[in-house]
Each structure stands twice: as C-alpha cells, then as structure tokens.
C-alpha cells in the first residue's frame, strides 16, 4: 500500500509511453480550441523525462519527482510546461527524502501539485483546464476509503477521465481556448485529457 521509487519510475515511463502514443490525439484536441501543439509539447517533455530517469537513483522519491518536474519545465514550454512542472515540483517537496509514499503522502503530494497549478495558472474548477481532471481525481482518491491503493488510484483515474470528458460542454475561461468564447464549447480540453492519461498511468503502475 505504498509507492516506492521503482513504482514511481514505472508510472512515469508508462505515462511517457502513453503520451507519445497519443501525441496526434492530443494535438487534434488542441487544434480544435488551441494552437495544435499540446501533443508535441507533452511528447517532447516526456521523452526528455524518460532519458533523464535512466540514470536516476531510486531511493528518494522526492528527487525523482523533482527531476521529472525540472525536466518538464525546461522542455515542454507553453502553458502546460510550467503547470505540469509545478505539479511535480510541488509533489516533490512533500516527497523529499522519502523512500516511499504511503496513501497520506500520495494524497498530500497530489493536493500540493493541484494547489501549485492553481496558484500558477489561477484556474478555478470548470474553467475547462487540466484542473478539471486533476481535481476530481484527488477527490475520488480521498473518498476511496477501505479499498486498496490500486483500487483508489483506479477510481481517481476514472474520475479524471470523467472530469476530462465533462470539459466538453464548458466554455473556456483560462488559457488559449478562452479566446474562442462560446466557440470553445463542444470540444474536450487537451490539458485535461493529458492529465487523465497521467493519472491513469499512475493507477496502472500501482496495480502492477
């Protein structure tokens, strides 16, 4: 019922694979209400992360998350770069020096990440951003008392998926999509979608 360094690395590697696999899909979502780069941005970032993690020691989960955050920050760019970077850097602060994360630590890490994203990007729920996938995921995780960690994370992933889908009817109020006004409704937010893929990878890593 904990995540150690190996599990975190498995998570990130799964995430990298699924992001690269879905590059075109994420870009298409961004083409509809943004500038057609979210897939390329995320794929570039997670490919770089993959390279960085190869030589990373596994003892300190915080150090791993910090490497991920710093690498995303310096390779993704755009709006998603600082936000995903912040997510991992804030989580890394909670995890600093820890060899493994228990449920409380996982929950605190995710919450710190979300808080960082919202502080940096000023998005509220229903603004049609990645917050709309991560927020519900954290709530579901918190609410999943009395189930295994893997199951709790699976519920978080499912909540993220629903949250991402629920962005479809929303009118964007933050980020580039907000320039479209009403025209942004009817399309799923790319950042919420990549966030869902990230949480799903975490659930899969925990289930292994």
């Amino acid at each position: 019922e904990v995540l150690n360094g190996d599990a975190v690395v498995v998570w990130i590697e799964r995430a990298a694979a699924v992001i690269v696999e879905n590059e075109k899909y994420l870009t298409e979502l961004d083409a509809a209400i943004g500038d057609s780069d979210h897939g390329a941005n995320m794929a570039r970032g997670f490919s770089a992360v993959r390279g960085k993690l190869a030589g990373q020691p596994r003892e300190d989960v915080g150090a791993i998350l910090k490497t991920v955050g710093m690498t995303l920050l310096s390779t993704v760019g755009g709006a998603s770069g600082p936000l995903y970077g912040t997510l991992f850097l804030e989580a890394a602060k909670i995890a600093a020096g820890k060899a493994e994360l228990d449920r409380t630590a996982i929950q605190q890490s995710l919450a710190a990440g979300l808080a960082g994203i919202q502080k940096r990007g000023k998005a509220e729920p229903l603004d049609k951003t990645m917050v709309d996938a991560l927020g519900p995921a954290i709530q579901a995780f918190e609410g999943a008392a009395g189930v295994t960690l893997a199951e709790a994370l699976a519920r978080a992933a499912e909540a993220a998926r629903q949250g991402a889908e629920a962005t479809i009817p929303l009118v964007a109020r933050k980020g580039r999509a907000s320039y479209l006004g009403e025209r942004s409704a009817g399309h799923q937010d790319p950042g919420a979608t990549s966030m869902w893929l990230l949480v799903r990878s975490l659930a899969e890593a925990a289930a292994e």
Binding site: D35, D37, S74, G78, R183
Partner: protein, 333 residues
C-alpha cells in the same frame, strides 16, 4: 503539409543556425538552451531588453535582435512559449548590470514561463521588469478569458524600449515607457487561410472558399467569429472600427499605423489595406505620422492581416526614429 524543412523537431534549431551564419555581425546564437543575443552582449551599464515566445511569428522576435532593439530573443517550439531556463540563461547573458526588461505577449504560457524565469533571475540578483503586451481588441471580455492577447503592438514596444535602453534610460523608465506604448496601442486581425503547425502536419482549422476568421490571434487558433469574405475596404473597416473605438482614438492625435501581414499575404494586398486604413484614420481626424507595412509578426504561412494603431507622443516618435540595426528592421545605421 508542404514546407521547406527537414525534421519538424529540427526546424527551429536549423533556422537559428541559418540566422547565425546570415547575420554574424548582428547576433550570436546559442542552442542549448536556445536563444539569440546581439553580437556585443552584454552591453555594460545598459538596460537589456529581452523578448521571446513561440516560433512561427518570424521576424518576431529573433529578427529584432540587434542594436537599438532587442538584446536577446528566446524562441520556443512553433507556437509554444519558451521555457524558464531558456529565458533565465538569456537574461543572464544580456544583463549588463542595469537590469533586464522582459517584453511578454499576454498568453498564459508566455506569462507563466516568463514569471518563473523572472523569479529565478531575481534569486540570482538580476533585476527584471516585465512589460506585458495585451493589445488585441478582438478579445472583448477579459473577465472570462485569459485577457487580451499580445499582437502587433509588441513590435512597437520592442522598438521603442530598445531605443530608450540604447539611450541610457534606467530599468524602471524603460519598462514604464513600454507599458505606456502598450496602453496606447490597439490591434486586430483576420485570416483568409489557416496555417499548418509542422508537428501537427495539417491545417489548424478549415475555412470555406469564401469564409474568413475575424479576430484571429497569431497561433493558428480559430478567431472570435467566422464571417464572409468581403472586399478589402470592407474588411479593413471591420478591423479599424473596433480599434478606433476601443482606446478610443480621438481627433487631433498623432498615430503610428502598422499594417502587418500574417505571413501568406502579398505586400500588394497589404498596401491596399494600408490605403483604406489610412483613409479611415484620417476620417477620424487622426494624423498618421509614422507607418509600418509588412510581415513583422506572423503566423507561419497564414494569409491575413492585422492592423495596429498606436497613439504616439513626442517621446515615442523620437525613440521610434532612433537608429536600429536588426535583421528585419533597420534604419539610421
């Protein structure tokens, strides 16, 4: 997708390499992280002016690096803001001890990446000031959006701040002047065709043979609304009216009129638009004292135009006229 490139992921770096060999007298290029600085950077005691943003808007920003304009430019991937480390390294490379002005177009990604870079620079003891450009009148309601986008006025802010810095003005002064330029500049654009982001490989949106996007940004995103293609004079009005009403521009004032090509529109057509825009400005009693016509802030090969009107004062005109020596804008030297 038909483009002159090798791998899409090498496009920006290869173009930077091209700039380095084309303009060795003007600028130096660094590749990892990627940025350009003027050849004699850092200039001791001078405030440095730095800008950056996604690539695909050329000549902005790299084409404006040189004496009298930008000390550094940080290009991101196509339509993707640069990263904090790029901006930080460029800031360090051009700081001559008098601080660095960051000219930032108001897009969420740019704002956040520059913010983080400025925080890091501050931690290292480098003073920075940020001039946020948000001149796009197409974005009406800033309460429910990320706020107005930075478009054409960016070029004017960079020129005028660059000249002020060259003239020895201090950090706060240069930034205040930049903000004044932003406050007095208004822009709006429209697109006749979409553009294709190299990584995406297909056009960002589709337009029928007689459709246009009005209130377009510079990232290939759709505009505020779709409209029918009309004669150039009518389209020029469609851009000029909201611009003129927004500041609002009042009779008797001096203005700089900037008709900008988005990339794929021939100069011939830009001058047709300029003619009408000039007429409309004059009809409002404005005196067009300075002009700029051409593709200066583009959106890859998008066909379209944006118009920027800047209400100028004597100081802005003086710095506009000051010598500038960059790849894309040059006079007096």
């Amino acid at each position: 997708m038909k483009k002159l490139l090798n791998a899409p992921s090498d496009l920006v770096k290869e173009a930077l390499a091209g700039m380095a060999v084309a303009h060795p007298d003007l600028l130096r290029v660094q590749l990892d992280p990627a940025f350009l600085v003027r050849a004699d950077a850092p200039v001791r005691g001078k405030v440095a002016v730095l800008s950056g943003g996604g690539s695909g808007h050329e000549p902005l920003h790299g084409g404006f690096v040189g004496r009298g304009m930008l000390d550094a430019a940080c290009p991101g991937a196509v339509f993707t803001s640069p990263t904090p480390d790029q901006i930080l390294e460029a800031t360090r490379a051009v700081d001559g001890g008098a601080g660095v002005v960051h000219v930032v177009k108001n897009y969420t990604g740019d704002v956040m990446n520059f913010e983080m870079a400025a925080e890091l620079a501050r931690d290292m003891g480098i003073a920075t000031e940020t001039v946020l450009v948000n001149d796009d009148v197409a974005v009406e309601n800033s309460l429910y959006t990320a706020g107005r986008r930075g478009v054409g006025t960016t070029v004017l802010v960079e020129k005028i701040c660059g000249a002020a810095a060259e003239a020895g003005r201090g950090l706060a002064d240069v930034a205040a002047l930049g903000r004044r330029v932003n406050d007095h500049g208004r822009s709006m654009g429209l697109a006749l065709t979409p553009c294709t982001v190299p990584h995406a490989g297909k056009p960002s949106f589709e337009l029928g043979p007689d459709e246009i996007e009005v209130g377009i940004g510079i990232h290939g995103e759709p505009g505020r609304r779709r409209a029918k293609l009309e004669p150039a004079d009518r389209l020029t009005e469609m851009l000029m009216d909201p611009i003129l009403d927004d500041l609002p521009f009042r009779a008797g004032k001096d203005v700089l009129l900037f008709v900008n090509g988005l990339g794929g529109t021939p100069l011939l057509e830009l001058y047709v638009v300029f003619r009408k825009a000039h007429e409309l400005a004059a009809a409002r009693g404005l005196r067009v004292v300075r002009s700029l016509v051409g593709p200066y802030i583009t959106s890859l090969e998008m066909a379209g135009v944006s118009i920027t009107l800047l209400e100028v004062d004597e100081e802005m005109v003086r710095y506009w006229d000051a010598p500038v020596h960059t790849a894309a804008l040059r006079w007096g030297v």
